[in-house]
Symmetry: C2
Subunit: 348 residues, 2 copies
């Protein structure tokens, strides 16, 4: 453990506005997503960052200091023993999730892991069994499901506003600076790829609307020589329902998710994976807009949703359950194996 001088911990005082009891979070990882998460934590009510775990002491210190935390560990097990956080958030490369999740669950401590939570069904079965055995909370970090605009869209669907949902169109197609952006850097060695790193969001939009597994999924993939650089997928369901889904690191498409029903449609955006807006457009053209701007990254919604679960003793988040994770994980695994993409974890 490395202690940081409290004087440098500038951001800690103004938190804990709404509740008496703070939820004590530990963050594993110090990369881009971990930073975004920590910014969200500063906006969340009653969230306290009590420990940071980084394999690099220097990175850990810089990160912890930035977010008003004074405790850094280079060993996960030591952190768990000493800090005893209420929950651990894991934001490290895909292929490292599994062993970290197992270690935290084994200690009887709840886990939020970044997507994709694990690399294959065998690992998924193991973490699900361990969470059940230890009777602790576990969630794959599909933060998108927690945004107010997405919850509004879901309510509109549940209320029958668009009638029977018929089609979902969702694409997470971006062209990042590959040298600068983490998930993509991983390639095959870190179990990366467009489907798992960004496409998973599009699949989660379809699965939110059509909660079952697709009847069939036809997909085309462009490889970067290691993993999928882009893919396009038609998922079909019974009775003509369908989803057009894509993910890409080589092209930019309009990042609005469209959910079309018999009576109208819902548009989620401007970037559907962390939206501020849900728009309900009826077939006659009349419109209704839900708008909720937010400060920082928006991770606060996921954080607050989870804290509510912990307070209530719930073991899954209702916005993105472990069943949701299972359906999407199987769908991804079937697809990538059809493409011939094999990860380290598959031969372990």
């Amino acid at each position: 453990m490395i202690m940081i001088d409290r004087k440098t911990a500038v951001n800690v005082e103004w938190k804990g506005r709404n509740r008496m009891k703070e939820t004590r979070w530990a963050i594993v990882g110090t990369g881009y997503i971990a930073n975004e998460f920590a910014k969200g934590m500063q906006e969340a009510a009653a969230a306290e960052l009590v420990a940071v775990v980084s394999r690099s002491e220097e990175n850990g210190k810089t990160f912890a200091q930035r977010y008003g935390c004074n405790t850094v560990y280079t060993e996960l097990a030591e952190m768990l023993r000493n800090a005893r956080p209420d929950i651990v958030y894991i934001a490290i490369p895909n292929d490292c999730h599994f062993s970290y999740i197992m270690t935290v669950l084994e200690a009887g401590i709840p886990v939020l892991s970044e997507k994709p939570m694990v690399d294959n069904r065998r690992q998924l079965d193991a973490v699900l069994a361990k969470a059940r055995e230890k009777d602790v909370f576990l969630m794959e970090g599909m933060w998108t499901r927690c945004f107010p605009a997405v919850r509004q869209a879901r309510s509109w669907i549940a209320e029958g506003k668009i009638g029977k949902p018929l089609t979902v169109k969702s694409g997470f197609d971006i062209k990042p600076d590959v040298s600068d952006w983490q998930p993509w850097k991983g390639g095959i060695s870190h179990a990366g790829g467009a489907l798992r790193d960004v496409g998973i969001y599009a699949l989660a939009m379809a699965q939110m609307v059509f909660p079952e597994s697709p009847k069939e999924a036809h997909a085309t993939m462009k490889s970067n020589g290691e993993v999928d650089e882009s893919f396009h997928m038609l998922a079909t369901y019974t009775d003509g329902r369908a989803a057009f889904l894509s993910g890409a690191f080589n092209q930019v498409s309009t990042p609005v998710t469209e959910i079309v029903g018999e009576l109208g449609r819902i548009l989620i955006g401007p970037e559907f994976w962390h939206p501020t807006t849900a728009e309900l457009v009826m077939n006659d053209g009349t419109r209704q807009t839900f708008e909720k701007a937010y400060p920082a990254s928006g991770f606060q919604y996921e954080i607050e949703a989870i804290q509510e679960c912990l307070e209530k003793g719930e073991k899954e988040c209702p916005y993105f359950t472990l069943t949701d994770t299972e359906i999407i994980a199987d769908w991804i695994e079937t697809t990538r194996k059809e493409w011939g993409i094999v990860y380290k974890a598959d031969s372990e």
Copy 2:
């Protein structure tokens, strides 16, 4: 032939603004599309409506009078003999196109036929052979290709503005009043269906960008008991290129076509099948907008493009060639047969 009192032909005087030589058109059919076409003709330079053919004398008279024409026939052959138009436009139910096209071509007169031009490959081979034999102009009425906004999009692609095109997303999904709107009314007896009546526009957008036949096309279809009420299709091409295409009579989706390339994307709308706008959005977010509003239906662009062809002696329209028609017709026929949709023409 039925002559109408010239005094009722109010719209004829103000035409023929730009050229001396009028192109003398005959229109077969008096329905919704024929009306839209005639409105476009009133906006086109040097286009004259010289004859109307309708099986109903009363409908023919009403229609002709509305557009300043004083000659109505109830028999196509009689019209061809007597009126000798420069070109015949055919806007009757799908299943009637073939025999009308053959009759007009046999008389050595050019033809513009509404989409889908014919019902299957056998009919297509026959009309193509007849047009070649008689050495006359023939075009399937994919008017969308003639709009300035679509031509601008095509120029941008040809100039390399978006780099290599990678993805096309196009859906013609509407929910018309079925009792009031003609193509849909046809059902199986008139060789109708979402794929042929509206989806064909989406396929034509893909084929404009990727001129070859798709490598594969996966599609899901919802039947109305006779034909396809809606469909969703993933068309794949070599090297990961793909198109998300749909057509529907039971749901309304955002009617903008998106063409995504390596460097940027093009949005065609607001209703891509008769657009006023093409927008070029570079990957860095910079935008360039082409806008061309037009009076009436917009058929004037197709009409003027064809008149230019006739003047130059060309036998095909460069915006939508007979090869374009062949590729899309084969694609549609393969797809509908996979769905088990069989038309009258297939057993003739």
